[in-house]
């Protein structure tokens, strides 16, 4: 047990930070908010050359087979720099394919991901925004050696930039023993797909994607027929915890800006950072961020070690949802009026942290998942020991 970063982990985080500080200015971040695909191809190419898309992919697919905690450290820096790159959706989807795909599927998709040629995303949410299998109404109907997909997906990240999309579809009615979902990997430009960009608080790349009679070869089904939900659940868990690290990276620099500001901004004849009201607020901000990091990295570490981590993921996300936007609001408060100025950068983080706290599961959803594990499963609960989970 040693929960601090080791030398190699420190190096991964430091080099990602150094790279993004050099390559990703806030001017670029602002520019990409207005961009139709939302990322600069040159920056993305450099990120993929450094191996970020292949970090946790196996060596046979051009990856480096590193632990997920390393990817978490990189995502934390991506959040800190607000780097406008489609790394989150690509990494998460590629790792689901590596875990659940056939050899042929992996070989056809993953080397392109490692090389930076293929951008991936996934589509789960529909009109009902909860992360439950019964919310999926999009259908996939067998037709010879194809499936025909019809439905409407919401909040699809990086769709406009993507080459392929992993779509959760209903292939059977939900029953007590089976969620009735199957997953299909579809070319983003396939006939019958249309999309509209959503205007979000973060001004990031999220789309509504409409599937009208989209034909997909059966060979593109990921996992077995009606076996899609457990794969999607794992995907969502990884996506959620990596989003947490991204939120935490963004929140920490936001807090650091407030702390630095308080050391130089003078009022009543002294730096405002000498007032205890400001000091105690800043102390609480840092304690919240530290707590979130410990929760998120424990979840990633458990995934790396093949342990169940659903409860840990939900712990991290519910905590980040509650604490991180509050930290950013405190930072706004310490900055005063300047924080509300469009030309001052602080709002770039505030808007993202606030928006990201609403993605991939609300505090209520994640806490209900924890409550279910704590209260509805048999057995005595001991803090620090695994909580029983359902599969």
């Amino acid at each position: 047990m040693d929960v601090l970063l080791n030398d190699e982990e420190q190096l991964v985080a430091a080099s990602a930070r150094e790279f993004l500080e050099g390559e990703c200015s806030t001017a670029l971040v602002r520019q990409m908010e207005e961009d139709p695909i939302g990322h600069p191809p040159e920056l993305w190419a450099k990120c993929t050359e450094m191996g970020w898309t292949g970090m946790c992919l196996n060596e046979e697919y051009g990856g480096q087979a590193l632990p997920l905690t390393y990817l978490g450290l990189v995502m934390q820096e991506v959040g800190r720099a607000m780097a406008p790159i489609p790394l989150h959706s690509t990494a998460v989807t590629s790792l689901a394919i590596q875990k659940a795909g056939t050899k042929a599927q992996c070989q056809s998709v993953l080397p392109g991901v490692s090389e930076g040629k293929t951008i991936l995303t996934w589509a789960f949410s529909e009109q009902d925004p909860r992360f439950l299998p019964e919310t999926v109404k999009t259908t996939a109907v067998a037709d010879g050696d194809h499936f025909v997909i019809t439905g409407k997906k919401l909040f699809v990240d990086n769709f406009a930039a993507s080459n392929q999309i992993l779509v959760a579809c209903r292939t059977a009615p939900a029953s007590a023993s089976n969620a009735g979902l199957s997953l299909f990997l579809i070319d983003s430009t396939a006939t019958g797909i249309s999309h509209a960009r959503l205007r979000t608080l973060a001004k990031d790349q999220q789309c509504e994607v409409i599937f009208e009679q989209v034909r997909v070869p059966k060979a593109n089904m990921l996992g077995g027929l009606n076996q899609g939900w457990p794969i999607m659940q794992d995907l969502l868990d990884l996506a959620t915890v990596l989003l947490c690290t991204q939120i935490l990276g963004a929140t920490r620099i936001d807090a650091e800006m407030a702390i630095d500001h308080s050391k130089f901004r003078e009022a009543f004849g002294q730096p405002i950072g000498a007032f205890q009201s400001i000091q105690h607020t800043c102390a609480d901000m840092i304690i919240s961020i530290d707590g979130g990091e410990l929760l998120a990295y424990e979840a990633l570490w458990k995934m790396d070690n093949g342990m169940p981590a659903q409860v840990e993921v939900s712990q991290a996300k519910a905590f980040c949802n509650d604490k991180c936007p509050a930290v950013c609001r405190n930072s706004q408060s310490i900055h005063g009026g300047i924080g509300f100025m469009m030309e001052f950068d602080l709002h770039l983080w505030l808007r993202r942290v606030t928006a990201w706290s609403m993605r991939l599961g609300t505090s209520y959803e994640h806490r209900e998942r924890i409550a279910h594990a704590l209260l509805d499963m048999p057995g005595h609960v001991v803090l620090g020991q695994p909580v029983p989970v359902e599969n």
Binding site: M1, D2, V3, L4, L5, N6, E9, T69, I259, S262, K263, G269, Q270, P271, G273, A274, F275, Q276, I278, Q279, H280, C282, A283, D284, I286, I287, D290, G291, L294, L295, Y297, E298, W301, K302, N305, Q315, A318, F319, D322, Y364, H366, R367, E368, R369, I370, A371, L374, L375, D376, H380, V381, V382, L383, G384
Partner: protein
């Protein structure tokens, strides 16, 4: 990053739990309770650290297994083990209601700055729980601002004469020794004229008087984990002690004392104190109802329980972080203080939330008809907040996070600079 335990550590936890199941019998608990009651009933009479025959035999068995002072050197009665393992042992005994932790014992400071003779004299007996210190820090006019302390130690050849008063000296009625912070140089700056002394409680001139707290009336069930019914004030009238009683060098006591307190703020005992009720309420709610109304089916309660559980995990993880720092041989910049803000305040939030889950049942004390879990939750509401006050209040801890961790400016310096 490694959030796991080794196979040996996992096995050690199993062994400790097996031992507890076998040896922590109802008779042992009864004897522990009887001894504590006798201590409290002492009303001014100073009692030694004595214990009943069953408990004495139990400590011997634990020591035979090498579990006392596990991470201390063998030459001082320890087992040369690692701190993580020691924490596992302390955690499980704390859960079982038998304190064996050396946190708050004075042992870490003696280990760090004690003379060879002091180490040999104190450590083996502290580890065997035969010696214990009453911590003489707080005074009537020096609590949070400890450096304002006035208790005087005046040098007289190779002796010191001590005069003054200490307050809230928690275990003074049963400790064997005093761990005293006193002023040795009133002309030096506040922090520079302080020294620490170790000496027996039965030294002539030392008087202990009881102070009765709002807790433990009636007596709380074992494991309530907060506060005692009795604390004390201690008076020193020309208490003469030899200079060999100095811990660390003369006038260097502030450094030694702060170091001891820092080490005191972390560890299994402190974090479990803040999270025990989380475990209790989860396990109670999942197995009980009030005549057909099951709180576990109430969505608001489910949501609150999950929120508290997450916070409790952060307590656990912050303790792991502190241990990782210590295990690497490093010092805290702010991490110990952060833990000492988060965990006690969490304990209060939990305790208060539980009262709103139990309603009127939450008011019932130990021994009352219809008391829930022997009234543990009711007793806790009068005790939880104490943890945010003792050993440095949460406000003082936030100051330390801001000043040491975030390097924020000091008000005094800012004012001086403005002039």
């Amino acid at each position: 990053m490694d959030f796991g335990h080794t196979l040996e550590q996992t096995q050690l936890r199993r062994d400790v739990l097996d031992f507890i199941r076998t040896h922590m019998t109802p008779e042992v608990y009864a004897e522990l309770d009887a001894t504590e009651e006798a201590h409290e009933a002492g009303k001014g009479e100073r009692l030694s650290n004595k214990r009943g025959p069953l408990v004495a035999a139990l400590y011997q068995k634990i020591d035979d297994r090498g579990w006392l002072g596990y991470s201390y050197p063998k030459e001082y009665g320890g087992a040369d083990g690692d701190r993580v393992s020691q924490n596992i042992i302390e955690e499980e005994f704390q859960r079982a209601g038998l304190p064996i932790s050396l946190v708050g014992s004075g042992a870490p400071a003696i280990m760090a700055v004690g003379t060879e003779q002091q180490k040999q004299h104190y450590l083996p007996k502290l580890i065997k729980m035969e010696f214990s210190f009453a911590l003489g820090f707080t005074e009537p006019h020096a609590g949070a601002d400890l450096a304002a302390l006035r208790c005087r130690a005046i040098r007289d050849g190779d002796h010191f004469a001590i005069n003054g008063q200490k307050m809230y000296t928690t275990s003074a009625h049963h400790a064997t020794h005093m761990y005293l912070m006193a002023r040795t140089d009133p002309d030096a700056s506040r922090h520079d004229g302080i020294s620490i002394f170790l000496f027996p409680m039965d030294t002539p001139g030392l008087t202990v008087r009881p102070l009765w707290t709002i807790q433990n009336n009636p007596r709380a069930p074992r494991g309530t984990t907060y506060g005692d019914a009795r604390t004390n004030e201690v008076f020193f009238e020309n208490v003469r002690i030899h200079e060999s009683c100095l811990l660390g060098r003369e006038n260097q006591g502030w450094r030694v004392g702060s170091m001891g307190l820092n080490l005191d703020r972390v560890g299994a005992a402190r974090y479990l104190r803040s999270v025990r009720r989380d475990e209790d309420i989860v396990n109670w709610v999942k197995a009980n109802d009030f005549g057909g109304y099951a709180p576990k089916d109430n969505p608001a309660i489910r949501d609150k329980i999950a929120e508290l559980w997450i916070e409790a995990q952060v307590c656990r993880l912050m303790t792991m972080r502190s241990m990782s720092i210590v295990e690497r041989g490093g010092n805290f910049t702010y991490e110990g203080s952060a833990e000492k803000v988060w965990s006690p305040e969490h304990g209060v939030r939990t305790t208060e939330a539980i009262t709103q889950m139990l309603g009127s049942y939450g008011t019932l004390l130990n021994g009352s008809p219809h008391a829930v879990e022997k009234g543990v939750f009711a007793h806790n509401t009068m005790g939880a907040f104490q943890s945010g006050i003792n050993h440095g209040s949460v406000q003082i801890m936030r100051d330390q996070v801001a000043k040491r961790g975030l390097e924020m400016p000091s008000m005094r310096r800012a004012k001086a600079a403005a002039k």
